[in-house]
Structures are given as C-alpha cells and as structure tokens.
Assembly symmetry: C2
Homo-oligomer: 237 residues x 2
DNA sequence: CTTCATCCGTGTGTTAACGCACATAGGATG
DNA sequence: CATCCTATGTGCGTTAACACACGGATGAAG
C-alpha cells in the first residue's frame, strides 16, 4: 500500500524548480497536483495522451511491450523530468507504455497548455529540450547495456537508478515486477538478488527490498549507471 | 572505394525536402554540400560539434563505446533525418560517436546557423523535433531488441535498416564491422550471415554483401524493424 | 606471380541465461 | 487455525552466444 510520503514542497520537481521565477509563476496556475498509485498506467502505447506529468515524489517507468507479451523498460523518470515528451516533440502518441513504479505525487498539465507554453520558446522550452536530450542518453545507454552487460550488473544499475528517484531506502517491488522491467526471467532476478544479499548490499522479503550498502551496488553495477548520471547532471545543472 | 553515386538531386534529404518553399529557400544558402568517405568519424564522444549534417546519399551510425573498447550502435541516420540533434536539443556535445556507414553526400550547416534557425520556431523546428521523436523510438526499440531477440533476427533488422538508407542492393561492409555495430562477436555475424546465404536472402564475399531476397530478410527479422518503420512513416509523413 | 594482410569458416570448450518444474514459506482470509 | 495465494528458492536440461584457436581463401601490392 502506498503510504503518504514527504510533502511535495520538500521534493519539488527539479525541472520546474530550475526555471526563472517569471516562467515558474506563469506555469503555476496550469499545474494541478495529482496522486499516482503504484502500478497505475499513465499512458498506453499508441493511445491518446491528455496530460503531461511532472513527478515530485513519484517515479515512472517507460516500457515497451512485444507482440508476444514480453516487456522491457527503456527509461525511468523521476522528479528530474517529465512524462509525456511526445506531446511537445510532435507525434501526439508514443509506442511505449508508462507505468508508475514508485507511488507518490506529481503535477499534471493539460496537453493543450503544454503545447501552448512550449511554443512560447524561452527558458521552459530550453529546459524541456535539455531534459529530452538527457532522456535520449539514458535510453541509448540502456540499449548498449542490454547488449553488453550481465544480469547482476544491470540489476544493480536499475536499483541505483530507482533509488535515486525514490528518496528512501526501501523499494516496494517483487522480483517478478523487476524481471518485467529488465526483460529477464523472474528466476534470474531471484538469483542475482540473492547474491547481492550475500554481499550485504540489500535485504528483501516478499516485495520489499531494502538498500543496505549502496556502495556495494555501485561497485557491482556497470559503468552505465555513472555515465548516465554524469551526463544527466551536466545537462540539468 | 566509394564510387560516385546518383546526384543528390534525385535522393534529396527528406527532412529538408518536406519543408514549405519559404523555409527551404531561407535555409538553402546556409547549407553546404559535403562528401563523406566510408568510416569517417563525424563526431567524437564528448567533443565539440561544429556542424549538423543532413545526409542525402550517405548514412551515418550512432555508436556508444564502453571503457573496455566494445561498441554498439544505438541508431542509424539516413536521408530521412539529420546528425547532430544535440546542437538544438541543448548540451553542445553527446556521449556517442557518429561514423559514416555508407559513403556519399550530405549537406552541412554550421552549429550557430542551426541554433539561430531553430530558435525561429516554425516549420523547420517542428520537423527537427518530429525527427528527434522518431529517433527516440528507434533507439528505444533497439534497447528492447538487444535484450529480447536473437543474433539472426537483429542482423536481419539491421540489414533492412541499412538497405532502406542505402538505396541500392550492395552493402559495403565486413562481418567485423557489423559485429561492432551489433555489439557481438565477429564469428556470430559470420554464422548468422552464412545461414542467411543458405536461405537465399543474401550473398557476400570479402566486404561486399548483396541483398538478393529482401522478403526473406523481412521474414527472418523481429517485429522491431516494422514497428520503427511504421512509426517513422507516421511521424515523417 | 609471389607475398601478405584481410576476410571469412569452423571447431571446441565454457558460460550465462532460458524454460520448466516443483518446493517452501510468509501473509492474508475466512 | 486451516486454507489459499503470492513470493521466493532451487535444480535440471537446453540453448545462445562467448572466447579462443586456427585454417583457408581472396584480392591487393610489389
């Protein structure tokens, strides 16, 4: 069950928070708070998108689904960005599904308001584009990582990315769920997780994973985690 | 050796060709023709980017390189788009390398001209953003494909994508080169290629691959090829 | 026409991960 | 507290792909 978390004020959306006061205040009336329960489907592949969402305490997974039903995540969005870039990039829809991976709060803005604001140009547009660029880097690195690195390395990277967007040490998710994100077998997750438990990196039981030694995860992850983080930091100040 | 190919007039850059006459004519004086030899490195990871390039008869591969030297492609750009999106998305540099995979012609535009034109908004900006969205879809599908599909499926998809951007049936590339694109062993390429030769899809010898039965490649590829193509067609008319 | 570098074929052993089957155990529910 | 559902552990056979080694062939260059 998603419990109430820290108020959004203390974990604002960083993309919005980085805007000049003028832009921020113009946008404020068009932003409505909304609550995301765990597992909520925000966008369905190829379906109409009515809002964009700026996560504050929540975070969202971008997933592709194959014809045979298997799935894999291509990106993860937390309070550093927004969900729904297709609405200003053009295209109206996207071929991926977006689902809530960490319950919490977000601000939403209607598609029409977003498109109007984007067209103004200025700092808001720049911030949206820089964020999109950082997302491209994340997706690209995921592509390469999927090809070149082991299950354990990728699991570590994924837990680190999730940890960064969760703001606390307990992740609420089953091995089954993680296997759908990483595009691997549930059993493979169990084996890798077991190994990380032995290393003292994490503990877990029945859908609750606790990060004990983040450093161990960092050492066991591939270089991809740091590459994406560095580039993200560079692009988003 | 790259031989002279059809004049660029007959294979224009489609992104540019799709613009209203007014925009096209404004841009024309800022576009300079340039020739790409096979294998030329257009951008080095994290290095300054002085121009963007609109391929006409050439095509370009976007590559990531790991610390241990292994590489994998994340995207392929032909005359449907442009190379150097980071210059208008913000960021100035990107963490990937861009290399010429098919020798030929392209138009180049200076970084400053590009940024100036982008800021005008209008149709050119819209076209650039829609293309970027289609590239995101391509990269995303590559991420998923890398995780879920076999060597042979991915090789077929890759040859189809290359074929679409090459405009003729002979691809000039060694198994070694392809292995660096797909992020796999050279031997694995040889085995898969051999199999496709037996199926009658292709013939090849010493760096020249000829596509005999495209249909066979389509049947042997994963769904990813068609997914990306459909979305590309939708976004770029 | 000989030499040489490059390109491709092929085999062998090893490993990572899959597919499947089934066991165990903790919570929830009545 | 008996039952059931869900989450995780584990084993076994199979497969895809890697790592490495080496051989043969072809085309370019002297």
């Amino acid at each position: 069950m998603p419990r109430p978390q820290e108020p959004s004020r203390s974990i604002p959306n960083r993309l919005l928070a980085g805007l000049p006061a003028e832009d921020y205040e113009r946008l404020l009336p068009r932003l409505k708070p909304t609550t995301f329960p765990l597992g909520k489907v925000i966008y369905e592949s190829q379906k109409q998108m009515d809002y964009v969402y700026f996560p504050t305490t929540s975070h969202v997974s971008l997933l592709y689904t194959m014809l045979n039903g298997s799935t894999a995540e291509v990106g993860l969005v937390g309070n550093e960005g927004l969900v729904g870039i297709a609405l200003f990039m053009g295209g109206e829809t996207t071929p991926n599904r977006a689902i809530v991976q960490g319950a919490g709060e977000a601000y939403k803005m209607s598609a029409s308001a977003m498109q109007e604001e984007f067209k103004r140009g200025g700092e808001f547009q720049l911030a949206l584009l820089r964020y999109t660029q950082s997302l491209i880097v994340q997706i690209s690195q995921t592509a390469v990582c999927n090809r070149l690195h082991t299950t354990e390395q990728r699991l570590c990277r994924w837990m680190l990315m999730t940890h960064d967007r969760t703001h606390h040490d307990e992740l609420q998710m089953t091995h089954e769920f993680i296997s759908n994100m990483l595009g691997i077998q549930r059993e493979a997750v169990s084996i890798a997780a077991h190994h990380l438990k032995e290393k003292g990196a994490i503990t877990y039981a029945r859908g609750h994973i606790k990060i004990i030694e983040r450093r161990v995860l960092e050492e066991s992850a591939c270089e991809c985690y740091q590459m994406v983080k560095d580039e993200q930091d560079r692009l988003l100040e």
